[in-house]
Symmetry: C2
Subunit: 193 residues, 2 copies
DNA sequence: ACCTGAACACCGTTCAAGT
DNA sequence: ACCTGAACACCGTTCAAGT
């Protein structure tokens, strides 16, 4: 479980290169150089480039899950407001680190074991929030997973569309990802039971 | 505007290779071979590999827009039901051609002119449907763009999460993309005015 | 157990040249 | 206007060898 210094240095270098120029800019030669090792030292820690990128994605999801948990415990406010804060944070994360966001939800997510576990942990925090909101009668009854996924899918889709420039509208009908989340909250509030 | 035979053959070959193995499998050498030309003939039609992939994405969006329009005109049913059909079709498209779906919403969408126009046209059909549903009092009042983007973002996010295996749940709380769209429709129906 | 340097196959792109 | 073949630089991966 403990990470060697070289291993974590490789992951950090890969994440930086990803931010700077996308997956194509993450060359094992430059990753090695930034970590102070040769260009094929990464093969002693990862199966290959894809496995290294999966480790970057897994680290990102672990941080995301930790952040959601912090949010879920610190403010004693209404659970629905906490859910809203978590979704706004999700959107902010996508906007701040678009390359990491895109990578994390790449097609191979399910193939890597660590990545799958990290993703499940990240979702668990959201489901807890939805269940708490139901208990406080702020969300309608039903499976909390179903409500949590409704919010997560909307936040994810809005953030992804915005990154590709598919959400921008001219003035009047403009819908930011945050607007859409708040629209859903307004809808769900009027159906509390 | 008219496409040369070679150009469209290159786009088709690239789309096939994309489906078979993702963007990395789209090598200009293999694209050229399948189109019956040399490995650098593509440079006479496209600025480079990225521009060729953008053409694949643009063609995909044009087809998507055409499909949405066909759907919007053929069934004389309720507009909200047509909107639901369009969203289910969107999800089906993502599931059938995951690589084209991922490519279409890549980070560079806004950089290519043709792609931007095709995307705008595809969204326009949806907004028309939302406006029609409002007129029929099946959707609450407000900007139709806002409602259209609410549905589009949910469908997009649910489809993208499912492709990465981030939506699967164990039995009871399982939420398919189609389920989530129907959940949103149920919410919005109870807020018709 | 971890790292290095040389080597290989492959790919995107450029260029001079052909029709 | 469109295409070809050779060539170049770069990258992922493998391997024999070092400590």
């Amino acid at each position: 479980m403990t990470e060697s210094d070289t291993r974590s240095a490789l992951i950090s270098a890969a994440a930086d290169l990803l931010d700077e120029g996308g997956p194509a800019a993450v060359t094992l030669r430059e990753v090695g150089a930034r970590a102070g090792v040769s260009h094929n030292a990464p093969y002693k820690h990862f199966a290959g480039k894809e496995d290294l990128l999966a480790a970057v994605a897994a680290r990102e999801l672990e941080r995301q899950a930790r952040g959601a948990h912090v949010h879920a415990k610190s403010p004693p406010g209404a659970p629905l407001a906490q859910l809203r804060t978590a979704m706004h944070g999700y959107i902010r994360w996508a906007r701040t680190y678009p390359q990491r966001f895109k990578l994390t939800f790449g097609a191979w997510s399910t193939e890597n074991e660590d990545l799958g576990e990290a993703a499940a942990a990240a979702r668990a925090g959201l489901i807890d929030l939805a269940a708490a909101a139901q208990k406080a009668r702020e969300l309608p009854p039903g499976e909390p997973e179903r409500l949590a996924y409704l919010f997560l899918a909307l936040a994810h889709g809005a953030a992804d569309l915005e990154l590709g420039g598919h959400l921008a509208a001219d003035g009047k009908g403009r819908a930011s990802p945050e607007d859409l989340i708040d629209d859903l909250i307004a809808l769900v509030r009027q159906n509390r039971r």
